[in-house]
Symmetry: C2
Amino acid sequence: MPGPSATVSDLSEAELISRIQRQLPPRPDWVLVGIGDDAAVVEPARNRLEVLTVDAIVEGVHFDRAFTPPSAIGHRALAVNLSDLAAMGAEPRLALLSLALPSALPCTDFDAMIEGLQALALRHRVHVVGGNLTRSPGPLVLDITVTGTVKRRQILIRGGARPGDVIYVTGSIGSAAAGLQMLRAATAGPPAMSRTGTEYEACTRRYLFPEPRIRMGLQLSRNRAASSCMDLSDGLADAVAQVAAASGVGAAIDADALPIDPDARAWFAAHAADAVTAAITGGDDYELLFTTRAKWTRRVTNAARTSGTTITKIGVCTAEAGVKILRSSSEGVMPRGFKHFA
Amino acid sequence: MPGPSATVSDLSEAELISRIQRQLPPRPDWVLVGIGDDAAVVEPARNRLEVLTVDAIVEGVHFDRAFTPPSAIGHRALAVNLSDLAAMGAEPRLALLSLALPSALPCTDFDAMIEGLQALALRHRVHVVGGNLTRSPGPLVLDITVTGTVKRRQILIRGGARPGDVIYVTGSIGSAAAGLQMLRAATAGPPAMSRTGTEYEACTRRYLFPEPRIRMGLQLSRNRAASSCMDLSDGLADAVAQVAAASGVGAAIDADALPIDPDARAWFAAHAADAVTAAITGGDDYELLFTTRAKWTRRVTNAARTSGTTITKIGVCTAEAGVKILRSSSEGVMPRGFKHFA
């Protein structure tokens, strides 16, 4: 049994794997071979298509260990992948964990990271069926593959929007970007910068523990309510541009309609940033952007109500190419720093 | 168009993705959504189980860019995964590529890496359906997920050996370990160390471009010829120990029967190393170790002939736990450095 100051380099690969395994629930029937062989073997879901995605989070690029607790690192590694499944309308099924671990990583951090990941996995009934552990001579890297299932006629893609389709976004935007700025300020700044207010708590929590919109993705899919869908991993501005490009349409976004989180708005205002620009270019929100035909409004309302999701109409798809942001104060003018919108 | 000295940091993620896409063959029918959406969508193979595995190779841990050409890095990243499928008796199907790229990586190296990977993928009809690209502040990391298919009653696992089962290994062992030593010596040593002999070529090629034993894995699976199977990624000694432990048996290995590559044996002898120890503890051979019932000999012979694979009987499974190496010179004595054998 390693002491409290033990690092992962004090353990063998087999011991680290057994520390993961002891956090896993019993294997479901459809998993024929799980962790411990050369590969996992599963029974495909009947009458469903399979949805697969992989996403890596890299220390120093996607998270900073100075202010990201290990449980949040584990949570995020899975959440970013589940968000991709949500954007396809898929039901999560299994995950493979590939972790590159710096030798100095404390075992307690390793355990907390797996706990954070596994807590989210349990909530979405994702089963960890295998993976890979290796040493990293550099940053901590968590590379997660997830698969999910979807019916053939219910896949959500980026490329299905038409001119006239209405553009919606789930939840609120900007809080993760504000939360990241708050954490950075608290870490770099004097102790007075360390805030404990509820605004701080809400934004930093949104940054640290993003909640993938799995239920809304499933409801959009099952109600066939969306003509296109994408998650906001790289920010709303990027998502609108990607959906428009994939669909061969343009978009007009009403900046005044954007559901910018009030705490985030206040933080941006206090730090001389334009809230709209900050909110639409900031990443990490993991909300869904989707488009819908005007006549499908009831389907959208049903999907939102059934999944308990707030949604906001933020614009419309246009026949004319390009993305326009309309602001009451400066109509047609692009906010600064808006590099994704050509 | 980036110049000849351009690095990946000169390109956008979209440009790098399009450089991957232009190397891919047309998408097969069963891929409904490929690269370019939030996730890939595929139709599962009919009446088959799905086999999934992930493996990462990390610069400074699994390869050294000083003597590993980019094409070999790409080849290896996929090969180690295909070897895991081979060990399960699975037919390869698709791959997801997750790459963490140092900013200074030349674009020409990036292209060559993908070419090396894609050349192997084509030979085994593996389709790249998606992936992820990210910057790395440290080492180059290639994290590949592959899936394959297998019939329910034909899965090969580690845990099926019984006492009395015969132990085989495919091909030859030791050449990859010798090849790695040759490459290191040529890189670190004076110019005189740079060899160009055919022994050198054969061993270094085995190290740089390992050939996963896909065809033999499939034949063992289809002929139901193996009671257990595993690949030699961490060396033969480790594989024997793992199969024995998973099966609840012991093993007696005849050291004199081991198919140690003659060039590797000569290299080890010239460098004062015990060839048996070096060959069984050296990794990277990516051969298959398998066990079979005595009465299945004809199935094994058929599998080897059909797949064009040489195989060697190297020992037998025992009721008594533990792994013994029997040598004519020192029967029952373990070679030094044999840490995996308790």
